[in-house]
Symmetry: C2
Subunit: 369 residues, 2 copies
């Protein structure tokens, strides 16, 4: 066997994630390896925990980073809060709501669903009606559906959930660090996200946060969490315990990377970052519409960082997408689930969310069409 040195093409990442990374994040990844129980690493974990809190806009003590990708963060939230026999209500308006339901079933929950046509947000009235017919321990919803580009308003639904004394669980994989997301103000009890979208860190970690209400539910469990690796009663001693007990070996280099990505977010400021995402989205939108593209989602509910668009009438998507990748090194995403082959998902995430990126993409599309 003869394997050559890694030599990937200089891709420009404008799909649904991963996004481009800032040179400082690349550099941070190569920081000197140290031990996972080294006092220096414990200090880094403390800083990262503060950064998780700042970016989730929360004071939750149980805020940390799961040592695995966003889907493991989803599983962490659900399997820790659910015990066999619990009722849960899952809202689905795309691929990822369906994944939550799948995980909840595996955890032994009786799953009730609120369904919405893909491409539209969940209607609070539908949640209200569903809550009259079940008594769920938690209600889970996706803030930014990566499969459709829908922004889901959360505050009204949060109020309904809490009136019913249930926990409010939110998937913020694509919205995190790109649009406003207020864990405390909006009464979110458990939230997970990814690192490779608007945070622009390498994929492989999942920041999470749990409210005091959620922690009480965790502490009141009478059955063990089905996963040892994701069991918060163990993990929390490593991330937040007084003794910092060994649970598993943290992904040190990845933590270096996310820390630097957080530094960049905090230097820019959340408000400025959200504004940049919105303005760059508008620049892209104007250009795409001029080229004959049209949006799946109504203007009011469009995510700035995930643009789900139909191509101009009569244009086949795959050959153009392949040309963009192979001749221009630009990655955009195809449709997921029911939208496979039907639309594109153009990402404007974190370090990829930039006017020059938009201009490159629009120019390349013009040349190809």
């Amino acid at each position: 066997m003869n394997y050559s040195e890694l030599n990937t093409s200089p891709r420009i990442l404008m799909g649904p994630g991963p996004s481009d990374m800032h040179p400082r994040v690349y550099k941070a990844l190569s920081t000197q390896m140290i031990g996972h129980l080294d006092p220096e690493f414990v200090s880094i974990m403390d800083e990262v925990k503060e950064m998780v809190q700042a970016t989730f806009q929360t004071k939750n003590n149980l805020s940390f980073v799961v040592s695995a990708p966003g889907s493991a963060g989803m599983e962490t939230c659900l399997v820790n809060l659910i015990e066999p026999g619990d009722e849960v209500l899952i809202c689905q308006h795309g691929v990822f709501g369906g994944r939550m339901a799948d995980i909840a079933k595996r955890a032994g929950a009786t799953v009730h669903m609120v369904q919405q046509e893909w491409g539209k947000p969940i209607d609070p009235q539908d949640v209200k009606a569903a809550l009259e017919n079940c008594d769920p321990k938690l209600v889970a919803i996706v803030h930014a559906e990566t499969s459709t580009g829908v922004l889901q308003p959360l505050e009204e639904i949060s109020k309904l959930v809490h009136d019913k004394e249930a926990l409010f669980v939110v998937d913020a994989v694509t919205s995190y660090c790109g649009i406003d997301l207020r864990v405390d103000d909006w009464g979110i009890d458990a939230i997970y996200t990814g690192t490779q979208k608007c945070l622009s860190a390498p994929p492989g970690l999942s920041p999470v946060s749990f409210s005091e209400r959620a922690v009480e539910v965790l502490d009141a469990r009478t059955t063990p969490v089905q996963s040892w690796f994701l069991d918060l009663s163990l993990v929390k001693n490593y991330w937040a315990g007084a003794k910092r007990a060994y649970h598993h070996t943290a992904p040190i280099s990845q933590i270096y990377g996310i820390r630097e990505a957080y530094r960049l977010v905090l230097e820019e400021g959340l408000e400025a970052r959200f504004k940049r995402h919105q303005e760059t989205h508008e620049h892209l939108r104007d250009g795409l519409e001029a080229l004959g593209f049209s949006y799946l989602v109504d203007k009011e509910y469009r995510l700035p960082m995930l643009n789900a668009v139909y191509l101009p009438e009569g244009v086949e998507e795959l050959p153009i997408r392949k040309k963009l990748l192979n001749e221009y090194n630009i990655e955009v995403g195809g449709g997921l689930g029911a939208f496979a082959g039907k639309l594109w998902r153009i990402g404007l995430m974190g370090h990829s969310c930039d006017k020059n990126h938009v201009n490159m993409l629009l120019s390349a599309i013009k040349e190809i069409l």
Copy 2:
């Protein structure tokens, strides 16, 4: 909040992992990010799969890298092979056998145990006796107990397990790429390991491999795997399916790192690497014994890469270990579980397994004592 640039101390890692990394691995981590479904990344995954096969000395098709640390690899092996109500037999001679039992119980198994005094290997006769009193679906054992430094011979036990028509599951976290480990020749049906020990890649991934027998058991399941994230019926389509279906976003940069670490292993050659670990261990052993240290484990069963040693009579371990870290930047490990405060675990793993490292450590200990 004001966070400074990362600036870790130049640690020399001679604990139970992570180990030092080769400069080429640091460099590979900073390779240009590309998408997780990019054809270039799929090719990298194919190469990494071949490298997993080569280092496990197996032809198993279902060989890949779990996107989470070694303990998630442990959980992957157990929760995929166990269905509720199954009997399993777990051999325990240290911390990690106990962790396997914990995970198996959470998966709904009836767990039988073979216990051995910590610091000694499991006696095949004890396994034989246990197999006469139960009918397990699988028997699990740790090849190299990181908590004690014991090398567990596997071939005789493997034969007993297969005579009973059970699956043989092995933890190779600390042995992998440091001592001989023959998945096919030794009849191992499921195996997991870590990356931050003798492979000297960053922590956060877990190479695994499953035999045809194990795949038949996976395919014959009648209940869903309790974990969605670790469900091999889904994960295998991403790593080995004809269509490479999206399951989760792979930890791209980590995969770059492990690929380069594998290149280094294959350039050196497994035999040469095992020899280097053995010879460096002997150099360390001679030096430690001359200083009054003594080994927990009998010579015949000592791991070269994990040296569990008592300090000279009357010497308190923690102050010396702290001095090594703070004044010499050398990390060695303390005892785990029952051995906390009682012994050291000195690692000679991968890139840390080197005569200069041994000389630095011995000289520093001499100066402190």
